[in-house]
């Protein structure tokens, strides 16, 4: 194998390893919320993981700053909520979860994900 091919192979394998590490090995930072939280919708959800209290009402304010069509809807399937998020506008979702657990929500196409941990 010629040196250029060895270099390309090495770089390629490292690239694949990097992609795996970068996208699939990320650690989610959980933000504890009481009362209300602003979630900025831009290339994903920030904060991505929030923890809220069981039985208490929490206001989740989604503010979409990303014009990508993918993010124009948010779906909280476990809570039967599908909301359109108009650009640069605050959309409030009030949740009073009755059971604890981890509830994943996503954009309308299921590409971007966030998580609500109920404790």
């Amino acid at each position: 194998m010629s040196p250029d091919k060895i270099v390309v192979t090495m770089v390629g394998l490292s690239g694949m390893a990097f992609v795996f590490w970068f996208f699939l090995m990320k650690k989610e930072k959980e933000v504890q919320v009481s009362g209300s939280v602003d979630i900025v919708v831009e290339g994903g959800y920030s904060p991505e993981v929030i923890s809220i209290a069981k039985g208490k009402t929490t206001k989740i304010n989604f503010i979409r700053k990303d014009p990508s069509g993918c993010l124009e809807e948010v779906v909280l399937g476990d809570f039967k909520i599908r909301k359109t998020l108009p650009l640069n506008q605050k959309v409030i979702i009030e949740l009073t979860p009755q059971r604890s657990g981890e509830f994943v929500y996503s954009c309308g196409m299921g590409m971007y994900h966030g998580k609500i941990v109920v404790k």
Binding site: M1, K5, V8, T9, G12, L13, G15, M16, V19, F20, F22, F23, L24, K26, E42, G43, G44, Y45, S46, E48, D66, P67, S68, G69, C70, V75, L76, G77, D78, F79, K80, I81, R82, K83, P86, L87, Q89, K90, V91, I92, S106, G108, M109, G110, M111, Y112, H113
Partner: protein
């Protein structure tokens, strides 16, 4: 520092709300002035910003029962629609420019066309000039989305398009800027600006059509919201005034003239009319309504004029509940979606790794022009992959399916119920109120032992007046009508009682209901207390009353599908009252439709076997569960489930809630304005038995659409990604041009949405 703030308030309905809100806001320390406008539903507050916070204003509003929307901009539907139109126009312009410029580049570079192209278009520098605005202006959205996603360590469709087109663009720019260098490493200097530009144009075109098609999936909910009337003509102090629907309060009298929309729910107090309720129930025939009948907001008054008293306004109306239910169903997730969700969360990183792998393999093992093939095939892999189709496959079908259901008066609680309904192979029907009208009337009165018919009715009615059972109402009604022409004081008392619906007929002592069996009590007749029993066979057996002599009479009536009750005193059996409930017109057809679908139908009732069999036979039901006490219905459902059947229970949702909840799918025939029946998975507002079959057909068709969508979305990626990688090249010499990859990608998600929209055209009834 003095600040002025205006914010919206939710929940206002009348002028008194204004005073309450202003008073509450003014009590906040630091508030100088507070004005609330009912028409605009907005409050304007002047306050000292060092003392007053948004939270304080918000709690002052919520303390008096309203909701302040501080910091939430409220945009009207029109504004949102305009913004959506602007976005689409913007997208269309980008599509046009990129496809036009991309087309010019293609003309100047594509092997078959190049000879016909003007010389300047064949110039690499001109191609670079034409490709640059496409890449960075039309494709700006891809870059922005990619950068924001990378900040979150996530990747999506945009990431793939950005990397794919950028690689093609940069390679082409490199070839244009340093052609000698490219030649020196043994590669023909051939740019691929056409690939980058056309891909961007086609993917944007796909998004344009997809956005238009997706808007169609939520059409049903928009239609429902659009049904809401804007104003109501309220009769106040003898005058009729038009007010906004938000200002209507419970108890208002509202005038509705021919051809007008009924604004909210209520009960007719004057006049009569024929009302078209098709928009809510899906029933095409108008319904005649008169004083005492219920009217539903958003339905259309046809011929007469009437006044009704409002019973439900705002979020409590039937229409508002339907909208809420449909919105919730559309927000829920079907279990079948789980796999697609799981795959799409790993999909893009996996495609990125495959693209890198493709480059490496082609570079290492490709023959001539290895670098060119490596780049082109890597770009093809990045462009062909379409995670959107997988993400759209289930929710678009669920949205169209639940919306279509609502149009036919079938309200589905969530996606899971819609999914389970297609597996149903046994349906248990509660008899009273479901298969029959639930309005029994007395058909026969048989007197024994010297008692005349009238006295039997008197005694029975006296016992029944304390019961809520529909039979009691029938007996009171019948007794009252029998005594209509009589001047006897007792008959008059029964008449008055029937009118007022709760009149003392005779003094009853020791009244007792024996559930599922009958009544007992002591009635004062001629100053003496006598013990009476009134009920079915089971009651007689329990009380050790011998009634063999009358068995033939009883059986004769039961064979006609009538419920027979026996009136007994201390001296023996006094007589029989037979009550029959009318079978609904739609019952036979509804059962036939289910039988044709191969679904077993079962009737469950507290009636004795003979009566139940007679009714079942009339309707066409073969399996009957008779003499089942109300609290045993749930157990009967579980017994059939234990036979390995997927069971639906159809009932009124009130008396049989435990059985509905126990069934795999609980179907409630809606009554009144309570559409959101908790225990039910599916609520049929129109009370038409054929809707049961329609709900199952809808579920089957929706599931078929979802399966086809998922098959297409998965199959597309599973087959075409390897083709783009070049797996067919060693055997057949087939490679996928990245431009064709972008055509396939753009059409794949559109085809999924279009397939879901086809559900709208499917017939379910």
């Amino acid at each position: 520092m003095e600040t002025k703030k205006t914010f919206s308030i939710k929940g206002m309905h009348c002028a008194s709300c204004v005073a309450v809100l202003e008073g509450s806001l003014k009590q906040v320390e630091g508030v100088v002035e507070a004005t609330v406008n009912l028409a605009t539903e907005k409050a304007t507050v002047v306050y000292d910003s060092t003392k007053v916070t948004d939270e304080k204003l918000s709690s002052a509003v919520s303390n008096v029962g309203y909701r302040a929307l501080i910091g939430e901009e409220i945009r009207t539907e029109d504004e949102e629609k305009k913004e959506k139109e602007r976005e689409l126009r913007d997208l269309r312009n980008k599509v046009f420019v990129s496809l036009f410029l991309g087309g010019l580049i293609l003309w100047g570079s594509f092997p078959g066309l190049i000879k016909t192209a003007p010389l300047f278009l064949q110039n690499f520098w001109v191609q670079l000039l034409l490709a640059t605005p496409v890449q960075f202006w039309a494709g700006f959205g891809f870059y922005r989305a990619t950068i924001s996603a990378l900040k979150h360590r996530t990747a999506n469709m945009d990431t793939l398009v950005t990397i794919g087109t950028t690689v093609a663009y940069i390679y082409s720019a490199f070839v244009t800027l340093l052609p000698q260098f490219v030649v020196s490493i043994g590669i023909e200097p051939m740019p691929y600006f056409d690939t980058a530009a056309i891909i961007i144009g086609l993917i944007l075109l796909g998004r344009y059509f997809e956005a238009k098609a997706k808007a169609g999936t939520s059409e049903a909910i928009k239609k429902l919201i659009g049904l809401q009337a804007k104003t109501a003509r309220v009769v106040r102090d003898g005058k009729e005034i038009d007010i906004l629907i938000s200002e209507v309060i419970i108890g208002d009298s509202i005038r509705v003239r021919p051809g007008e929309k009924i604004p909210v729910d209520g009960i007719i107090v004057e006049g009569e009319s024929s009302i078209d309720e098709s928009m809510i129930t899906g029933e095409s025939m108008p319904t005649d309504k008169t004083v005492g009948d219920m009217v539903v907001g958003a339905t259309m008054n046809k011929t007469g004029s009437f006044i009704f008293k409002t019973t439900k306004v705002g979020q409590e109306t039937m229409l508002a509940q339907i909208i809420k239910l449909v919105q919730e169903a559309q927000g829920s997730k079907a279990p079948i979606q789980r796999l697609a969700d799981l795959v799409s969360s790993y999909f893009v990183p996996v495609v990125l790794m495959l693209a890198i792998g493709t480059f490496v393999v082609w570079y290492d093992f490709g023959s001539t022009q290895a670098l060119t093939y490596a780049i082109l095939n890597m770009v093809a892999v990045l462009i062909i992959a379409c995670p959107c189709a997988m993400g759209l496959a289930t929710p678009t079908a669920i949205m169209v399916g639940t919306g279509k259901g609502a149009e036919h008066g079938i309200l589905i609680k969530d996606a899971e119920s819609l999914e389970t309904a297609h597996k149903i192979n046994t349906i248990i029907f509660d008899k009273t109120g479901t298969l029959t009208k639930g309005e029994p009337s007395v058909t026969n009165v048989v007197a024994f032992g010297g008692e005349d018919k009238d006295s039997i009715l008197h005694y029975a009615a006296a016992l029944e007046k304390s019961s809520e059972h529909p039979v009691a109402r029938a007996i009171v009604a019948f007794a009252a009508s029998l005594g209509k022409l009589s001047s006897h004081p007792l008959d008059k008392a029964i008449r008055d009682k029937a009118q007022a619906d709760n009149i003392e007929l005779l003094n009853v002592k020791g009244f007792n209901v024996i559930p599922g069996k009958g009544l007992e009590g002591e009635i004062e007749v001629d100053g003496n207390l006598k013990k009476y029993f009134f009920g079915n066979r089971a009651l007689m057996t329990e009380k050790h009353i011998v009634f063999d002599t009358y068995e033939a009479d009883i059986q004769k009536l039961e064979a006609e599908g009538k419920t027979v009750m026996i009136l007994v005193s201390e001296t023996g059996v006094l007589g029989l009252i037979a009550v029959a409930d009318t079978v609904k017109e739609s019952s036979k057809g509804g059962i036939e439709a289910l039988e044709r679908m191969g679904i077993e139908t079962v009737m469950i009732t507290g009636d004795n076997t003979r009566t139940a069999m007679a009714i079942a036979q009339e309707i066409g039901i073969k399996r009957v569960l008779a003499e089942v006490l109300p609290d045993q219905k749930e157990a009967e459902v579980r017994k059939i489930q234990a036979e390995g059947r997927v069971v639906a229970m159809v009932g009124d949702g009130i008396n049989d809630a435990p059985a509905l909840a126990a069934a795999d799918v609980g179907i409630a025939m809606g009554s009144g304005t309570d559409v959101a029946i908790e225990a039910a998975d599916i609520t049929l507002i129109n009370k038409d038995l054929k809707s049961v079959a329609a709900a199952i057909v809808l579920s089957k068709k929706t599931m078929r659409t979802i399966r086809l969508n998922l098959f297409w979305a998965f199959g597309y990626n599973i087959i075409l990604i390897p083709v783009a990688m070049g797996v067919l090249y060693p055997f057949f010499g087939i490679l996928l041009n990245p431009i064709f990859a972008s055509v396939a990608m753009a059409t794949s998600s559109i085809s999924v949405v279009a397939n879901s929209l086809l559900l709208k055209r499917k017939k379910i009834i």
